[in-house]
């Protein structure tokens, strides 16, 4: 297990390196002045000169990449001042340090993700289990059809609808906003309540469907039938045999979802104008702000990789037949 984790962590570093290289070189492979691209639409010669200098554009691209990578681990000096490790440079658009901006935005994304994920996993799995357990009954039909309809909704459709209803029609809550938990727990909770609900509605429905269908599939497996035939109680078979086996696809999807949610739930944050990593990403791409794009990309990728490794490790716990080699 330890060897597996160690090897995968090394692999993860390599993958991050590749992603950073791909991102970096793709930006420069374009037959276009990167400074011009980075400078955006409203470019002045002065701004262009500053960007050129900061980018070290007179140097060959691999050297620039080298400086960038060294900056991450050892820090580097910029016109704006020394930038301690981990240094991702300064934003072209706002001149803010990239790393600090990411750290500032991260709590919003974490709040949104954790608040949503815990509930949608627990409720979704629970509802799926009940539906599979009571398969064919009214309960199952209600759960299944509700989750089907809800999982067909989209955040960019439901979001504005809920806002129109709760905020503008009924005037129950204010427009969603992010208040740090440490400053004002109640404000934090109320500000994120609508986004949580909308995310949960959609994700819970997905997990209900997934866990129900996965469980039903497992219940038809031979080993489950054997266990039943041996006279084990239905409940024991359900939880110890079928449920455990049904977790594999759920763990897979949950890892993917969680990893990408931590990297910024772009559409959710955009719909509710929450200042998380997702909106930061969209904004910086729109401003063709390369250092910021690089920073967010690597940050988000780290989470996705981390969760990939966790998922693979979890497979071994769930299904002993899976070998970690």
């Amino acid at each position: 297990m330890l060897r597996f984790l160690l090897r995968r962590s090394l692999g993860a570093l390599v993958i991050l390196l590749v992603i950073s290289a791909v991102t970096f070189f793709l930006f420069y492979a374009v037959p276009r002045d990167p400074a011009m691209l980075a400078c955006g639409k409203n470019c002045t010669p002065d701004a262009l000169a500053v960007i050129r200098k900061n980018m070290g554009i007179d140097e060959p691209v691999p050297v620039q990449y080298w400086h960038f990578m060294v900056g991450i681990f050892a820090g580097r000096d910029f016109a704006q001042g020394a930038c301690p490790a981990p240094c991702f440079g300064y934003s072209f658009a706002t001149q803010d340090p990239v790393w600090q901006t990411i750290l500032d935005r991260f709590p919003t994304t974490v709040s949104l993700t954790l608040g949503g994920a815990v509930v949608f996993l627990v409720v979704g799995l629970g509802a799926g289990m009940i539906a599979a357990w009571k398969r064919g009954t009214v309960v199952d039909k209600v759960f299944s059809s509700a989750s089907l309809v809800l999982s067909s909704m989209q955040i960019y459709f439901v979001g504005p609808l809920v806002l129109a209803l709760v905020v503008y029609q009924l005037d129950l809550l204010d427009q969603p906003k992010y208040v740090p938990l440490t400053e004002d727990p109640a404000g934090w909770f109320l500000g994120l309540l609508i986004p949580w609900l909308v995310v949960q509605i959609i994700f819970t429905a997905n997990y209900t469907r997934l866990s129900r269908s996965s469980l039903i599939e497992q219940l038809q497996e031979d080993h489950v039938r054997t266990a039943r035939a041996k006279g084990m109680s239905g409940r024991f078979v359900f939880f110890r045999y079928a449920w455990r086996g049904s977790l594999i696809p759920i763990v897979t999807i949950f890892g993917v979802d969680l990893g990408s949610l931590f990297g910024g739930a772009m559409i959710t944050e955009w719909t509710f104008s929450l200042p998380g990593l997702g909106t930061l990403a969209v904004d910086s791409v729109r401003n063709t702000d390369l250092p910021m794009v690089m920073g967010v990309m690597l940050f988000a990728a780290t989470f996705i990789i981390l969760f990939n490794i966790l998922v693979d490790a979890a497979y071994a716990f769930i299904d002993p037949r899976v070998r970690l080699s």
């Binding site: 692999g11 989209q154 559409i267 990403a281 791409v285 990939n308 899976v322």
Partner: protein, 346 residues
């Protein structure tokens, strides 16, 4: 028909009689009573036809594809197109704030779904053409992704060892790209590779870039799933038996593994397509999909989110259509799964 001797079958490529029809071996039998072996595909079709939900949702999905294919005809019959700004040419349709004057977003006998706030275009044709754009992109992406996933997932899962390691890392690598972010970040870059930034990009080329980038980042989930399935199938007794019997790998993959993977592949493909539709719509929602003036499903949501406080009606048409489409497609996916998997009796 089935009782004819092999020689009488016209143009049958004359396979040896004992090879071609061992199942019809009992020679003379009443044709009515003959046992007809039904292929799995045929069985699936029979089971599917019995499933009323499946058939209805298949019809709805088909209707959407027909609407998409026949968009020009529909627009011609309806007498409007998605580009003309009716609200600007004709007075009395939009008020001074550019919102439709008539209630409910300007719905009337002429503009069935009302008018778009701002530009005053016809919502009905916008939606019909928007569905056309989104569906064609999504179908292309899905086909390419599924093919790639089958090749990579099955190869990795079956061969294991170094192949699996390399393919697994490739999958990991592609999967670790935050795909929405990657997509948003690189669409401009990839486009700049094709066209001089000063020039206007042709619509078809933009569509190609969208398909290309989403394909590149679309196959991994299914590939991983297939790899996992293959991995556990590989350890099953029947594959082991085939291996012991000396069956070559290609045949094991074709005859032992793929038939067991058809269900996940088809089910996943029917989930993938609506996902691609919503993903493309999401990108357009964020402002990086198809651009004006090409009608696009997702861009209608962006517009809807802008105007929902004053004109909520506008949002309901693209939104409602999408919910119906996705719902029908998910139901279809479930029915396909039920039809394919005889174990899932009701």
């Amino acid at each position: 028909m089935t009782s004819t001797s092999p020689a009488a079958v016209p143009g049958a490529g004359s396979p040896g009689p004992e090879k071609s029809d061992p199942s019809f071996a009992p020679p003379v039998k009443d044709p009515q009573k003959e046992l007809v072996g039904r292929s799995p595909g045929r069985l699936m079709w029979v089971r599917f036809k019995r499933d009323r939900t499946g058939v209805v949702s298949a019809c709805i999905v088909l209707a959407f594809f027909l609407i998409a294919a026949l968009a020009p005809v529909i627009s011609w019959l309806y007498g409007k197109d998605p580009y003309t700004r009716y609200g600007e040419i004709r007075p009395g349709l939009l008020n001074e704030n550019k919102y439709p004057i008539k209630p409910n977003g300007g719905i009337d006998g002429e503009f069935w779904f009302g008018l778009e706030p701002g530009l005053g275009r016809d919502v009905f044709t916008q939606l019909v053409y928007g569905i056309r754009t989104s569906l064609s992109l999504a179908v292309a992406i899905t086909l390419l992704s599924v093919l790639t996933a089958i090749v990579i997932g099955v190869a990795g899962g079956y061969f294991g060892g170094r192949t699996d390691y390399l393919l697994g890392r490739l999958t990991d690598l592609m999967m670790s790209f935050p795909n929405q972010l990657f997509f948003i970040a690189f669409t401009p870059v990839v486009m700049a590779l094709f066209v001089n930034p000063q020039d206007e990009m042709p619509t078809w080329m933009r569509a190609c870039v969208l398909v290309y980038v989403m394909w590149l980042l679309g196959w991994m989930t299914l590939a991983r799933l297939l790899r996992g399935q293959t991995l556990s199938l590989r350890e099953r007794e029947f594959v082991e038996a085939a291996k012991v019997a000396g069956t070559p790998p290609a045949r094991i993959i074709r005859k032992e593994l793929l038939p067991n993977l058809v269900t996940p592949i088809l089910v996943q493909a029917t989930y993938m397509l609506p996902n691609n539709v919503t993903a493309i719509a999401g990108l357009s929602f964020l402002g990086v999909g198809m651009l004006e003036p090409t009608p696009d499903w997702g861009r209608m949501f962006a517009k809807g989110a802008e105007v929902y406080q004053s004109d909520l009606t506008y949002m309901f048409f693209p939104g409602g259509a999408m919910v119906i489409f996705i719902l029908a497609f998910n139901l279809l996916g479930d029915s396909v799964r039920d039809a394919f998997d005889p174990k899932t009796g009701r």
